[in-house]
Every structure is written in C-alpha cells, then in structure tokens.
C-alpha cells in the first residue's frame, strides 16, 4: 500500500510504500489513551505480476476498547461486533448505524465513515475491480483526517504523525528520472534522500483519483517513520501497538 502523510506545519505531503506479506496486519493508529485502534490487514493480488506480488488493504478494523466495539470493513462487508452481538452490512446499501458513541455511515458501493465519540474519524473507500481481472483484486483505501483528537499516547504508522514532525528539505536537484526531482530531507534527526513524485487521493474521484504531489521516502518509510515498518505488524485486528 501507498501512504501519504500531510504535514500541516511544513505544508508538505510525504509518501512511502510498505510492501509486506498478504495476511500481515499493520497498525495505523494505536491510541491507548482514548482506547482507539485502527489496523489494516493486507491482501495480495491474484498472482505475481512483473516479478512482484502487490499487496493492498483488504480489511480495515476500527476498535473502540471502552465499549468493546469493533468495526471490520472488508471489500465484501462491514461487520460490527461488541463481543456479544454481531451485525453485518453489505456495500450494497446506504446505511447509518449508531451504537452509543460510535457512528458508521455507509454510502452504497462507495465508502464508509466510522466516527468514534465525534472526535476520531476514519474513512474507508472501496475500490472494486473487474471480477475476472487476471491480477487485480478489490481493495480498500483508508483516509484519516489530521484534526482527529487523539490522546498524547497515540502512535502507529499514521497515528505518530498527529505530532507534526519538524521537516527540512534542501538540495533539491534533478534526479535520474528528469520528471522526478530529488532532495535531502531532515526529519527526526535523520537525513534522507527523497524523490519528488505523486500519489493518488481517490476521495473526490474514485475512478481516476486526484494527484497529490509528495516527497517519496524509500525503503518502506525508513527514517521517516519511527523504527522499522515491521514494528507495526500486530497479531490481530484489535491489537494495540506494543512499542518498546
């Protein structure tokens, strides 16, 4: 999956890819203070293409620990469980579901917005591909607003950027590909070689998406994210991140 992180203080978008294995669960947000965790399970394409097995978000889970409620969004359904009750919805209908402080808004065959206590929101976008496509599979996109109100304990691949890091960029120069400039980025005490590129935001136009120009961090976000991406692999969909 591709990650785009908007850094408001620097007014800059930073992006990176993480290619882990299908089945792995990546932690996106882990906020033990508010009791919210957002995890994503990867799925692989149908087969290896150009020597590579692409991975995508196949399932996104939002767990709200205080109420014991978990919302699991997959490409086929949206399931909600509170330990005792299980309810599931398909992508085939627009629906609004509320349980105490949790609200789920499904827009038919498009997206679902999960709001926890009015201050944390996660939006999951459904991408459907041609069913008989030899390689591609249906996948999900996840959009987490910058203004979510987490506790100071928030972490995770996305959650850690709730604390906007100080970033400086210099030595912008032509790269090997004349269309892609390169630069040096200083962040978290690391000096990184970054490449100018773009990723897609599909919220407005689900088919073509809109380009988001960003500075690309190589090696699965190494140096930009705290630790190594494998530190964010968690055992199950409701797991909080255990940071050393």
């Amino acid at each position: 999956p591709h990650f785009i992180v908007h850094l408001p203080r620097s007014n800059m978008d930073v992006c990176f890819n993480i290619d882990s294995k299908p089945g792995h669960i990546l932690n996106l947000v882990s906020d033990s203070g508010s009791g919210v965790v957002v995890n994503s399970q990867l799925i692989g394409s149908k087969r290896v293409h150009k020597g590579k097995l692409n991975t995508y978000f196949g399932t996104i889970s939002v767990y709200y620990q205080p109420d014991g409620v978990s919302v699991t969004v997959s490409t086929s359904s949206i399931a909600m469980t509170d330990g005792r009750n299980n309810h599931s919805f398909t992508w085939g209908a627009t629906a609004e579901i509320t349980q105490h402080g949790l609200r789920i808004s499904i827009v038919k065959n498009s997206h679902v917005a999960i709001t926890v206590n009015n201050h944390i929101q996660v939006m999951v976008l459904l991408h459907r591909v041609w069913k008989k496509h030899p390689v591609n599979v249906d996948f999900l996109g996840v959009y987490i607003p910058n203004n979510n109100q987490y506790s100071p304990l928030v972490h995770g691949l996305i959650g850690q950027f709730a604390r906007d890091p100080e970033v400086s960029l210099y030595d912008i120069h032509e790269g090997l590909d004349p269309l892609k400039k390169e630069a040096t980025m200083e962040v978290n005490g690391n000096k990184l070689l970054v490449t100018r590129g773009w990723q897609k935001d599909y919220r407005q136009d689900k088919r073509r998406g809109s380009n988001v120009y960003c500075w690309f961090i190589h090696n699965s976000g190494k140096g930009f994210i705290d630790g190594h991406y494998t530190d964010y692999i968690v055992p199950d969909l409701n797991s909080f991140l255990q940071m050393p």
Partner: protein
C-alpha cells in the same frame, strides 16, 4: 384442451361410459412474491346419459379468487366480482326467473374448496377455468407456493407449470417430495438467475396408482419453495405500473434477547394427544432458549399456576427443570384464559419494573389454548379489553389455537391488538411440529421498531409501514402508489433498532426499469405491484374492520374494502363472484366462513355461513354437496348477530 396425438390415444383408451377429464392444467405465475394461479379443466360426458360433472379446486385460504369462467358446449359463463349485496340481488333476480345455480366454497384447514357441479347432457364438453391470486409470505427463510392437486381421475393431459420471476434473482428453488415416491423424478426445474420454471407433467401411465389401476395417484399438495437473492440488508424496492413494493428481509444481525412467558392451557379438553404434542413441542422449544433469554411457564385450567413466579435465565438448569415440570402436567378442569393472561402480563411488568428486562430485548407472551374460556371472565370482549389495558407497548402476545373448538378469531384479535400474531394448530396433524415451527418463526427477533418511510410527495396510499418487530427468516412488505414526479428514482428510508445499535438504511429504485424488464418476460405477471398493493391494503382493512371501535368507522372501512375489491376483482368476505351466461343465467360464489367452533361463539365478521341456492335451468344444473337441510329455498335474510362487534352494512 387440444391434446397431442399421444394424449388423444390415451383419451380414447380411458374414454368409457363415464365422465372423462381430457385435460387438467394448473399454471402459476409468480412475480416478486405475488402469484396468479389458473386452474383449467376440460371434461367430457362420454356416457349416454346426462350426468353431473364436478370441478373442485382447493385454494389456499389467504388467496383471493379473481375469476371463474365455465364453458358448457360452447356456451360461456363469465365471472365478475361485485359487491356482495349487488351480486346477491342480481342472483336473486335470476333465481326468481329460474335462471340461477350455485357454487360452493367451503373451508378445510389451511385450504378452502371451490366446488362446482354441472349436470350435462351426453357428449357434452365442459371447460372450467378458475383464477386466484395470493401473496407469498416468507417464513423460516422461504416462500412456499402450494397447489393442491386432486384431479380425481386419470387425465391424458395433466400439467402443472410454476413460473417464478424475481427481479433481484432467485437463490434457491426446492420441490419437496410431497406427492409420493413415484413422482419424485418427474418434476423438472429450470432455473436462471432471475427466473425459474417448474414443470410437473406425468403421463397417464405415470398417474396410475399401480400398473393396471384406473385410479389416479395424484392426490396431495404440490409445493414449490424458493427464496430470493438479497445483496444488502436495506431491502428491495420495486416499482411497476405506478405502484411500489418494498421488501425488507435483512439477515446478519444478532438476535435480540427474549423475555417469554409461555401460557399453556391444561384444561380437560387438552387431555390425550393434544397435551402429548404440546409437551413434545415445549421440550424442543425450551431447548432453543439461550442464556440471554428469560422465561417462565404458566399453566392454567380453572386455576392458574406458575412454574416460576419470576422470569429466569435460559440456563441449562432452569431449562431442565421447566421440561420436567411440563412433562408432569396432567390436563383437567375448565379454562380460565383471562386470569392466566393477566398473570403473564403481571410477570413481565414486575420484571420490567425491577429492571430485569433489557431495554432492547423483546418481551412476549405465547398463549397455547384449545378452547373458549369457561371459568372466571368468559366474555371474550372483556378479556380482550383486560389484556389490552394491562399490556405495555413493549410486550406482545402470540396466540396458538389448537383444533376447532377454540374461537380462533378471538385469539387472532387479541394477538393483533397486542403486536403479535396468531396461528391455528391442527390437532389432527403433527401438532408438535406445527407448534415448534411457529415458535421457530418468532424465536429470532432481529429488529424492533421498524419504520419504512418515503420522501414527502413521492408516494401515497401506503400500506402499514411501522412494524413492532422483525423476525429472522420472515419479510416485511410495504406497498403504495408512486406519485408522478420528474425524478426517475424512488427512495425509501428504513429505521430500526437492533441489539445494541440503531440503523437507518436507504434504498433506491428506478421507476421505469422493472416495467421494461417485465415487458420482456413471457411468463411474468406484469400487474403484480398493483394487485399486491390492493391485496395488502384489503387484508389490512379487513383486520382494521374487525377492531373498529365505532359503527361509522366500520362502515367507512367496509366501503373502502368493497370498492377496492371490485376495482381489483378480488372475491373477499365483502364481495362475491357473479358468473353470468349469455342468456342471463347466473351463479354466485360467496366467500366461505371459518368452520363453526364451540357452542356459543360466532364468526368474528358476523357473517352467516354461506349457503347455496339453486334453481336448475332446463339443461344445466349446478348443485351443491351441502346437506339438503342447509340448502335454502327462499331469500336469505336472517343474520346471526354477534354480541361483541358493531353491526353495520353487510354484517
């Protein structure tokens, strides 16, 4: 009734000095759960003498006859639905001129019989054609279409066709083997995504009871069971012919916890098989309870006893104890329904006041009774009032009437008035299975307080759209008229409460798409939405009528039912089918009544049992199988006056 050469040979082979049925064809066209069935029979009097020829069809009780035509030696009798009084007057006029004959419709368990007999000269050909329509109700995850087949004789051309068209797709079609092992391999099912065709066409030889028998082995109910595909929980909205139908049958919700008080009649009349089957059913029902459910059992005769004074959890300990208790019941004594129901309501009220009932749980009383009250309060209207007064909005009452000694209409009224439903249990059938099946229908409530709404000015004449509960495996249906609009879509909004959450669902439908699709279908029923709307509306009005508090209100409802029934050509309790020949001969088909029960009660609708009057024209004689004592000879004016309802026109 054109026969193939093979069938013609069969016809010649069986043609004797008798009546011969040349062909018997049943065709059902089911479109979006609404079925139009046609039964056609072509009969020949092959004998040398004039003889009586009968045409008997058993139709489901919930069906409305829409037409009947008969052709006797090329003279055609055509049917039309009229207000009952109008039809009777016309019929009386014909009778006065000796130009009338009769048709009998009689009740049996879940079917009613439409029966005609014609006395015809030798070498006559008679063709009968009966049409009826009904809505398929989803129960335990299936729609079931039943056709009772009883040709009575071997038939050279015998054929049943059931065509199903479901716009959203058919998930499964099953034909249970109900006619006997010899027919098991003879049913053919062709299915595509949205269409299915079921054919049953046994040859003359295959119809024989044994190789050389001349009796037909076809005698029973042919059942087609199917379900539809549902790609979302929000329901299916269909628009056709200016009408809409919204089907709502979600799944994938956790069942709501239940608080159930079982109220079981153990009066003397329950002694024997009824009690044995009730106990057997209760053992299975109790096993179905979960630890999240709360329950108790009240058994009553002239006294009322509680197995537990309070609701208890459905733990294995309590379930075992309750089963032992039920097992030990020995029926005797009278029937005190009022006190038993009051005790059940009090038990739920007490639990509710103590906070033992979960907010989102479903509280219900399940009453099983086989007879009218004989002890304590015996006036049905007072019991009805008492129960209604005591019940809370969150409680509902489900009634099961075993056998025919019970006033089923009363049980149905108190159930309907208290957000429940009723079912008759046939004591001579597998009563235990019927009880269990009813319980299975209500044992998984998934949603509460369901409201299906539409944007203002988009629809009118909407049928019931507020529902107290939705049970797993069933379906809620709302229909109405679509108002003219510039938009080509109709939207519905459904709100409901599930265990722990509230939901709002949105469904959209194109207003022209389905009609375009129906036009392409050869065997669909294009007017289904219009007829289904009328069918639901009339049934609702009939229920409302039985609960109407004032005569004026009742009269208004009566008028509305009659006008709708005439417009949509349904034979209802308030309309009749007048069948007229070219030269003014007339036949009358009135709706049948529920069989009499007990000693003192009367049908809830206040109508007297249907009786047939006939005065044979010179060449055709319509007879009835009713005993001579029941056949009236003079104008029928007398009415049995019920003491518990308001009497207005046509009561």
């Amino acid at each position: 009734a054109t026969l193939t050469s093979e069938e013609q040979e069969d016809f010649e082979a069986i043609r004797g000095d008798d009546i011969t049925v040349k062909s018997y064809r049943v065709e059902s066209r089911i479109t979006s759960r609404f079925a139009h069935t046609t039964v056609r029979s072509s009969v020949v009097n092959s004998g040398s003498k004039a003889q009586s020829i009968g045409f008997n069809v058993q139709i489901p009780k919930q069906a409305f006859i829409t037409n009947f035509t008969m052709t006797v030696n090329d003279i055609k009798f055509v049917g039309s639905v009229k207000e009952k009084t109008v039809a009777r007057n016309l019929y009386a006029q014909a009778r006065a001129k000796g130009m009338a004959a009769g048709i009998v419709r009689a009740n049996s368990q879940d079917m009613e019989t439409f029966k005609t007999e014609v006395h015809v000269p030798p070498n006559s050909l008679i063709e009968f054609e009966l049409h009826y329509q009904e809505m398929m109700h989803r129960k335990l995850g299936f729609y079931e279409h039943s056709l009772y087949l009883q040709p009575g004789r071997l038939v050279p051309h015998f054929q049943v066709d059931v065509y199903i068209f479901e716009p959203n797709g058919i998930s499964s079609v099953q034909i249970p083997n109900t006619l006997g092992a010899q027919f098991e391999e003879l049913v053919r099912v062709t299915q595509t995504n949205d269409k299915a065709h079921v054919v049953f066409k046994p040859t003359l030889q295959q119809q024989r009871k044994c190789e050389n028998c001349s009796d037909s082995a076809i005698d029973g109910t042919f059942i087609v069971r199917y379900d539809v595909k549902r790609d979302s929980n929000s329901g299916e909205l269909q628009v056709s012919d200016g009408h809409f139908v919204h089907f709502f049958a979600p799944s994938n919700f956790s069942p709501l916890p239940k608080n159930i008080v079982f109220v079981i009649d153990v009066s003397g009349s329950m002694w024997g098989v009824k009690m044995k089957q009730t106990v057997e059913a209760m053992q299975a029902i109790l096993d179905d309870l979960t630890i999240n459910d709360r329950f108790s059992i009240i058994d009553f005769n002239h006294n009322v006893r509680c197995w537990s004074e309070e609701l208890v959890h459905g733990s294995s300990f309590y379930i075992e104890d309750a089963k032992n208790y039920v097992q030990s019941i020995k029926p005797s004594g009278g029937t005190n329904i009022n006190e038993a129901l009051m005790r059940a309501v009090q038990m739920l009220v007490k639990a509710s006041n103590r906070g033992q009932i979960e907010t989102r749980s479903v509280s219900m009383i399940i009453l099983v009774s086989d007879g009218d009250p004989t002890v304590g309060e015996i006036k049905l209207s007072t019991i009805q009032k008492n129960v209604k007064r005591a019940m809370r909005e969150d409680f509902s009452l489900f009634s099961l009437g075993i056998g025919f000694d019970v006033d089923y209409d009363f049980l149905e009224r108190i159930a309907m008035e208290n957000r429940g439903m009723a079912q008759r249990i046939y004591a001579n059938h597998d009563a235990a299975e019927q009880l269990r099946s009813f319980y299975r229908q209500v044992s998984s409530p998934l949603l509460r307080k369901i409201i299906i709404e539409f944007p203002e000015d988009s629809v009118s004449d909407i049928t019931q759209n507020h529902f107290d509960k939705y049970f797993s495996g069933s379906e809620l249906v709302v229909a109405g008229k679509v108002l003219p609009s510039e938009s080509n879509t109709l939207t519905s909004f459904t709100t409901a409460s599930a265990a722990s959450l509230d939901i709002t669902l949105e469904t959209e439908a194109d207003t022209a798409e389905l009609d375009a699709e129906l036009a392409k279908q050869q065997h669909s029923f294009p007017g289904f939405a219009r007829q289904m709307w009328a069918y639901i509306t009339i049934n609702q009005l009939i229920s409302e009528r039985s609960l109407a508090p004032t005569a004026a209100k009742k009269r208004k409802i009566t008028q509305r039912i009659m006008s709708l029934a005439v417009e949509h050509q349904f034979v209802t309790p308030l309309t009749a089918l007048l069948v007229e020949g070219d030269d003014g001969e007339r036949l009358l088909a009135d709706s049948p009544r529920d069989p009499k029960h007990g000693c003192c009660s009367v049908p809830a609708n206040g109508l007297t049992p249907s009786k047939v009057v006939y005065q044979p024209p010179p060449w055709v004689l319509m007879t009835t199988t009713a005993p001579p004592s029941q056949v009236e000879t003079g104008p029928r004016e007398e009415q049995i006056v019920p003491h518990h309802i308001n009497i207005v026109d046509n009561d």
